[in-house]
């Protein structure tokens, strides 16, 4: 169990590392394409397209890690007024609601991938890219996010600080 958890945590971190590399890729792709243009060459159209798709993958691959890091901004203005035991309860309920939201989106995302494959959908830009290669990010990302939020619902850590907005 211990080693399983470590492997899982490693996967989540690994997804975030890929997201970080994609961020660097954004910079490289823009610089290369501008340089080519200014030297009178035809910039590869896939450089441009890769930045747009990169944004999607970056967001989706990194989002579960940010859940673990408690980095998704939330507002504790109202809940801070509740008595401490209530705050803990609300925090777990909110995390549970997040699990539900992510689970629905993971499920609908998986359906969307299936539909995209069945319909042979393309995303039409400079290239015709098979859509499922892109929408595949949804079931993966929201699925893992659901697991991360579930750890705040049932695990030892709480999503909220309860410190009257000191540590939102």
């Amino acid at each position: 169990m211990q080693s399983f958890r470590r492997a899982y945590d490693g996967v989540v971190t690994g997804m975030a590392v890929v997201a970080g590399l994609l961020l660097i890729w954004l910079m490289v792709a823009v610089i290369v394409s501008v340089a080519m243009r200014n030297f009178g060459m035809q910039p590869f159209a896939w450089l441009f397209t890769s930045t747009e798709y990169g944004l999607l993958y970056l967001t989706m691959l990194g989002a579960p890690w940010l859940v673990r890091e408690k980095g998704h901004v939330h507002i504790e203005l109202v809940t801070a007024a509740l008595p401490e035991p209530m705050q803990r309860l609300v925090s777990r309920l909110v995390a549970g609601l997040c699990v539900l939201v992510c689970a629905i989106l993971a499920w609908k995302g998986a359906e969307l991938v299936n539909t995209n494959i069945a319909r042979m959908d393309y995303d039409v830009r400079a290239y015709y890219t098979p859509k499922w290669l892109l929408t595949l990010a949804f079931p993966i990302s929201f699925g893992v996010m659901a697991i991360e939020f579930a750890r705040f619902t049932f695990g030892p850590r709480l999503l909220h600080s309860g410190e009257a907005g000191v540590h939102e």
Binding site: Q42, M120, V124, R125, Y128
Partner: protein, 313 residues
Amino acid sequence: EDTLSAVHAFPETLIYTQSFLQFVDKVNERGAGVVQIQVRGGPEAIGMFQQPDAVRDGVVDMVYTPGSFYGGAVPEKDALVTSNMSAPEARAKGGLDLIDQIHQDKMGVKYLGWFDSGVCYNLWTRDEPQLDANGNLDVSGLKLRGNAVYNAFFTEYLGAQVIDLPTTDVYSALERGVVDATGWTQIGLIDLKWNEFLNYRIEPCFFSTDLGVIVNLNKWNSLSEESRAILTEVALEHEQSSYEALQAKRDEDFAALEAGGMKVVTLEGEAAANYLAEARNKTLERMKGLMAEQPGGDANYDTLVDLFYDASK
């Protein structure tokens, strides 16, 4: 009474949207008590490129959009793009019936009408375009803005250095000299204010707009006989009247542009013929390739191309 919800791809103030809204008004007037269209908005209500899927999935009943926004699902839309006919002509020849059938088979939508047809695209440049010894357009010095519609033509035939930019970025890109040439339809340049920077229009024009109304097929089949009759009848009328209105609008725009200093450079003879033929061929090659990958294949490619092309023109 039947009601259909509808969205349009472009912002409400754009001329093409106004045309669609006129169609809606006509339907709502003639269909009082029978069929009504409720317009829910434009790209602010459903994203421009999500609208085709939305109508396919029944989230909305009717969408007014260029076929190019769902070219992955119905590559046959390039038959309209490369057409040299107006919608009424294509309708009379049976082309639009075939396109409707393809839409029903491949996408589960009814192709109700091809509006705002008869408008083609020009290349517009800031500096005087250069022609080579044979009178062909020389694009070597141009910084040409491209997009999915015309890239096949621009890069593969013209060999241009295409810079892909969304429409909203083009104004500032022209202002700063990031690009100095772009394709655009004959009308609309003034609305976008690009004429502040562009000084030359290159003739002949190529391609055609491919704006059409598509309706979710289940919804269509659920309508009463009378409702479908009214929708079809008004759509046919609007194919004719929107074509005529835009021809007039084009003449008006061209006159205004020329009064503002826009100059026209025309390719002649063989150079012009090659230019037009290749715009068409490169795009049709793309269509054929995509059709071949899909169920049904490219069996009706030749029929389709014939139905949308008048070789005598």
